[in-house]
């Protein structure tokens, strides 16, 4: 297993948000995390990422066989975890270009490498745009594209995407989906994919463009069901998340 989460319980500011999470993602797999607002989807993400305010009170997270529960965020990222945020903060004086150089392990004095320059162009960023302070005054679409561009610099083994399609117009969703595909080895045959991912979406729209192997429904801090993404999405579309609650109660 690439990522193994066992009996995970997490508190934020003393409040238990995740209760008993078990989740495993294998090499080459793409999973989807569904659930209503406030269910704990982002908490799970940020706990995997290791942000300090998410306190693991029970259970463990293993990545590539190593227990990473106590590692810092930067250490986890070095092991091959990446994330695109839904609404990242803007940082004055830190440019997209600076970040891309750091993320692709380049010297700050060097010019941005040709691969990144090309990818920036593909994601419709001009050269001048790269010198802008990251996220400062970016449109919704620019934020998402910049997040994906940064991930392409990192090329993590395991990438989490938090609502990568929210607030993005249709034309750009396809563009983003194609780059997300690159990050998840979708251009390779299923058997030889190495990179894995976990997508948060509450509408599931992005799944029209990015195929997923498995879906999980998170409700009230618990994974209430897991299974085939298409079937689960269909259920949710028909019965809403209430259907999942009832389903979970049957279990």
């Amino acid at each position: 297993m690439l990522l193994e989460i066992e009996n995970l319980a997490v508190e934020v500011a003393g409040k238990r948000v995740l209760k008993d999470i078990n989740l495993s993602i294998d090499e080459g797999e793409t999973h989807v995390l569904l659930g209503p607002n406030g269910a704990g989807k982002s908490t799970l993400f940020l706990t995997i990422l290791g942000f300090p305010q998410y306190e693991v009170v029970q259970g463990s997270i293993k990545f590539k066989g190593q227990d990473i529960t106590k590692l810092t965020t930067a250490e986890r990222v070095k092991l091959g975890i990446g994330v695109s945020f839904q609404t990242p903060p803007s940082i004055r004086g830190v440019s997209v270009r600076d970040l891309l150089k750091i993320e692709s392990h380049q010297d700050m004095d060097e010019e941005l490498n040709p691969r990144m320059q090309e990818l920036a162009k593909q994601l419709k960023f001009s050269d001048e745009f790269l010198d802008r302070d990251v996220n400062l005054g970016f449109s919704g679409g620019e934020v998402k594209r910049s997040e994906i561009l940064q991930l392409l610099a990192q090329m993590p083994d395991f990438t989490m995407f938090d609502e990568p399609d929210s607030g993005v117009d249709i034309e750009n969703v396809e563009l983003l989906a194609s780059e997300i595909g690159t990050l998840l080895d979708k251009d390779k045959p299923q058997g030889s994919r190495k990179r894995s991912g976990l997508l948060i979406t509450h509408l599931g729209y992005i799944l029209n463009f990015v195929s997923a192997d498995k879906a999980h429904v998170l409700i009230d801090g618990v994974i209430s069901c897991s299974g085939n993404p298409t079937e689960i999405l269909e259920d949710i579309r028909k019965n809403g998340f209430n259907g999942c609650v009832e389903c979970a109660q049957c279990l």
């Binding site: 930067a74 990242p88 903060p89 830190v94 970040l99 750091i102």
Partner: protein, 416 residues
């Protein structure tokens, strides 16, 4: 009787010799030496200075090789030991005393936008000029219709313990001319305590432009009281950049630009890094006194250790159709440091537009988290944010000078 006596400059100064400044800690001037300051010999080349001094000068933007410069001026303690006036036919650089001998009209420009009785520091500077009969400081002037893109470099250097350094500078941009200045102020490595008072008066004639970029690097026990007034004529633009990132005892300054000309413009940009127990009280003031005048005051302050920073900005609009914006951002990095942001807007006419934004706080955890999620260690993330925060885009400089200024800022921020 000279013009200044007729104008009662010295009488005014005499009356103000004990007048405390409106802002900043009161410095006991008598603790510093002003009588036994040695007169120093002129040097032929800035590279004749010892290695350490050359390094100190470079830190504040003064290039001893004089590359990409249009003139140089160096004052050590009270002596003007080096002037290079021959690098540009558009610009004059000389000691103020020599300039006064050359141009009898120059006296009209003395004690005009800075008043001798403003406080005891200006008074001291005026009285010292009268008592010793020696005027220290520089005169820089761009000739009418000329545009020299290379900057003049001017440096005030304190080389000896407990020295009281005063200087009286006059900068004039004649009609439709452009003038760029880099001024660096520093102390020798073995100087602990000293005092610096620099009176600077600037005059921008119609259609002219001055950029004035100042880097300070004082020793930890130096008291600094610059006094600056700028008169901006019709369609003229004044840009002031100020960088301080090294510890100092106390510094208090509140340069004022008088936008008296139609469509005149003044921009103040300052970067302040407070360290150790420095007390930094730096503000900028723009008085919008003519139609179409615009003023901008932008400052970034970071307080570390036990430092205290008072970040002031004052815009006053007195006539219709003027525009001003004030921006003051501060980061407080330790529990013992302190930032007091004082943005002031004053409107005494209808139909004018003035705004301000001020924000003071700690480094945002969200920003640190964001950078760590890109694999950057927490400590590095913090320093990136601080440097990024202070590293503002300096506007209005010619390309070459902008690059140099960026390097100066980078160098100043290296220790942050």
């Amino acid at each position: 009787m000279d013009v200044l006596s007729v104008r009662n400059v010295y009488e005014d100064a005499q009356r103000a010799k004990d007048k405390k400044a409106a802002l900043g800690a009161d410095v006991t001037i008598e603790n510093f030496t002003d009588e036994t300051v040695n007169a120093l010999d002129m040097i032929d080349d800035l590279n004749d200075l010892d290695k350490q001094t050359r390094k100190d000068l470079l830190q504040v933007g003064v290039d001893t090789n004089e590359e990409n410069r249009s003139g140089s001026f160096l004052q050590v303690d009270q002596s003007n030991i080096f002037t290079n006036n021959s690098m540009s036919s558009s610009i004059e650089v000389m000691n103020i005393g020599i300039a006064l001998e050359k141009y009898n009209w120059l006296e009209d420009y003395l004690w005009n936008v800075v008043k001798p009785d403003a406080d005891k520091y200006t008074a001291k500077t005026a009285l010292r000029e009268e008592e010793t009969g020696v005027k220290s400081g520089y005169f820089v002037r761009s000739l009418p219709g000329t545009k020299e893109v290379m900057p003049v470099q001017a440096c005030m250097f304190i080389s000896d313990e407990d020295i009281m350094q005063t200087a009286h500078n006059v900068i004039i941009a004649e009609e439709n001319s452009e003038l760029h200045l880099i001024t660096g102020c520093a102390t020798g490595d073995d100087v602990g305590s000293a005092m610096h008072v620099g009176v600077s008066e600037m005059y921008l004639k119609p259609g002219s432009k001055i950029t004035f970029t100042m880097v300070h690097n004082w020793a930890e026990q130096v008291e600094v009281r610059p006094r600056t007034g700028v008169k901006v004529g019709d369609d003229a633009t004044y840009i002031n950049n100020y960088i301080l990132t090294s510890p100092v005892s106390t510094i208090q300054s509140f340069p004022t630009a008088y936008c008296d000309g139609k469509n005149s413009r003044a921009i103040f940009q300052s970067i302040q890094g407070g360290k150790k127990d420095s007390i930094i009280d730096v503000g900028s003031r723009v008085l919008l006194n003519a139609e179409g005048a615009r003023g901008e005051v932008i400052s970034r302050a970071v307080a570390q250790d036990e430092s205290k920073i008072y970040a002031r900005g004052h815009l006053a609009g007195t006539v219709p159709n003027v525009k001003g914006h004030l921006e003051c951002h501060g980061l407080v990095l330790s529990d013992d440091s302190f930032i007091y942001a004082v943005p002031e807007l004053e409107a005494s006419s209808s139909n004018l537009e003035m705004s301000h934004e001020a924000a003071v706080g700690k480094i945002s955890e969200e920003e640190i988290n964001y950078l760590t999620s890109r694999g950057i260690a927490e400590e590095d993330a913090e320093s990136m944010i601080v440097r990024g925060f202070l590293n503002m885009d300096i506007t209005g400089l010619p390309d070459e000078l902008a690059e140099q200024t960026q390097r100066m800022i980078d160098m100043s921020l290296d220790g942050m």
